[in-house]
């Protein structure tokens, strides 16, 4: 088999430069066929998603905004091991670890915590490898529909702990009632 005729996809078509017949060269038949095709589309279902009223269904593997989790007692799970930063292919994550003081037992779960935890949203590709790498189940990519907000300043795209850590009221809601007593 000659290399020119091999078609891996099975869709390859030979270009035909044959001379057009009289009816073909009139184009009227072709134009009429085209008109019939377009008129059919008048009656087909419209695929538009009317955005503010309807929203597109998210795919099951959708990955949105990151969140640093708290445990069932409201303590930050992150132990600043740096595995997420290591696994990040875009090198978007930076962090600085610090030792937990005795009076901070209720704030951080492990002896070590991240005093600074930053994700550069200009670099982040939302691949979810940080989530997979984390041994403490501390970082998750949420299903949040809120995309990275636009800004005019590059610094505004570096999300610190103020934006990443799970808000306390959400943590309270998640806490089981028995633990609250």
């Amino acid at each position: 088999m000659a290399i020119e005729t091999i078609s891996l996809s099975g869709r390859k078509k030979e270009v035909s430069n044959k001379k057009m017949t009289f009816w073909e060269s009139l184009y009227l038949v072709a134009i009429f066929k085209g008109l019939m095709i377009t008129i059919k589309h008048l009656f087909t279902r419209k695929v538009t998603i009317k955005y503010p009223e309807q929203t597109r269904e998210l795919s099951p593997v959708y990955r949105g905004q990151h969140m640093l989790m708290r445990d069932d007692q409201g303590r930050e799970r992150c132990t600043a091991c740096g595995l997420c930063a290591l696994s990040c292919p875009a090198e978007a994550i930076t962090m600085k670890a610090e030792e937990r003081k005795p009076d901070e037992m209720h704030l951080y779960r492990e002896e070590k915590y991240a005093s600074i935890y930053e994700i550069n949203m200009l670099r982040c590709i939302f691949c979810g490898l940080c989530e997979e790498a984390c041994p403490k189940e501390a970082i998750y990519l949420t299903k949040s529909r809120v995309m990275v907000k636009s800004a005019t300043n590059r610094e505004d795209f570096i999300y610190g702990k103020d934006k990443l850590v799970m808000p306390l009221d959400m943590a309270i809601k998640n806490t089981p009632n028995t633990a609250a007593n």
Partner: protein, 343 residues
């Protein structure tokens, strides 16, 4: 009696003018809607119910836009361009018979702004003035690309006017008149000219597309080759005027197509209606029938626009000079022979 005629004609003129404006306005919405539907979209639906106020919103936007005038050698011409286009597009509606006649206040009111014997010649005369709008606009823009585009548009319009005029001659030979009213009246019942002049109709249709600058002959606009076309330098409502003129002329040429070839206001059983129901009702139905016919043609214009890609310039000229003109001459000869044989 004189006064009555003046009042009657003024009412008709104002009504026709308002109708043309309204149709042009809503053609813009229809264009966008039909484009959307043909592409499986929904189209504008935010302004008003189903987007019904969209033309008003568009107009408001055009008025509110910044007016930018290039450093042109002749500012006056720059302003005149869109106005010429617009008035040429609107003037043709004066001779179109919108219906046969109404019988009101003991008088027969002819539903036509003016019934002149050379209506067809008048239409062709005014249509060719429309080229000036494009040409002046392109020249006064002081922009090479606009000028080139205007030249192209003008040569296109002139070429197709020849074929259009020739295709009409066969029709005139058949009907023996240049008056649109008589042509319309001659197509009583189902004796529509399209059945006797299919080739002439086809040529006329293609030429109308070219004359109104619609796809596939919209070479006056060409984002790909000449930035934007002859109206590149126009902004705000002057640009709006050019676009509006296109829609107005589309409406008028749809009407002419309906009147010349598709039986105008005639519908089967019109005589029966006149005798049994009354002349007024029969003619009001006639107006509605004409309206439906021209709406179909407007739809057809848009349908073709969203189906057929634009011609290349040399293809356009080849089609005009080498195909349509010989064809229309052949059509004249065939019509002549047939008339000779029949008589």
């Amino acid at each position: 009696m004189e006064q009555a005629i003046i009042i009657e004609k003024s009412v008709i003129i104002i009504a026709v003018f308002a109708l043309t404006m309204l149709m042009a306005m809503y053609s813009t919405l229809a264009e966008r809607k039909i484009a959307a539907w043909l592409q499986d979209r929904i189209g504008p639906n935010r302004a008003g119910k189903g987007g019904i106020l969209q033309p008003l919103a568009d107009g408001l936007k055009l008025f509110a836009k910044e007016e930018f005038i290039p450093n042109t050698p002749n500012k006056f011409l720059f302003f005149v361009g869109p106005a010429v286009s617009m008035s040429a597009a609107l003037m043709t509606s004066a001779v179109i018979p919108w219906g046969d006649k109404l019988h009101l206040f003991g008088r027969d009111i002819i539903l036509q702004a003016t019934d002149i014997d050379v209506a067809l010649l008048y239409i062709f005369g005014v249509l060719s003035v429309g080229i000036y709008g494009v040409m002046i606009g392109g020249w006064a823009s002081n922009n090479k690309f606009s000028l080139m585009s205007a030249m192209r548009a003008a040569s296109q319009m002139i070429s197709y006017e020849v074929a259009m005029g020739l295709s009409i001659i066969a029709l005139i030979m058949m009907t023996g008149t240049l008056s649109l009213r008589e042509i319309a009246a001659g197509q009583e019942g189902m004796h529509w000219n399209v059945f006797y002049q299919p080739l002439g109709f086809l040529i006329f249709l293609v030429c109308s597309f070219a004359e109104t600058n619609r796809t596939p002959f919209d070479l006056a606009e060409c984002e790909a080759e000449l930035i934007g076309g002859y109206h590149t330098e126009y902004s705000s409502m002057k640009m709006g005027f050019y676009l509006f003129a296109e829609y107005a002329s589309m409406f008028i040429s749809s009407t002419i197509l309906a009147v010349l070839y598709f039986g105008a206001y005639n519908y089967p059983g019109m005589n029966w209606m006149e005798e049994n129901v009354g002349i007024n009702i029969a003619n009001i139905i006639g107006i509605i029938v004409l309206f439906l016919k021209l709406c179909f043609f407007i739809f057809f214009y848009m349908w073709v626009r969203w189906t057929v890609p634009r011609f290349r310039y040399d293809q356009l000229m080849r089609l005009g000079w080498k195909i349509l003109i010989p064809l229309s001459i052949a059509n004249i000869i065939i019509t002549g022979i047939v008339i000779l044989l029949v008589e």
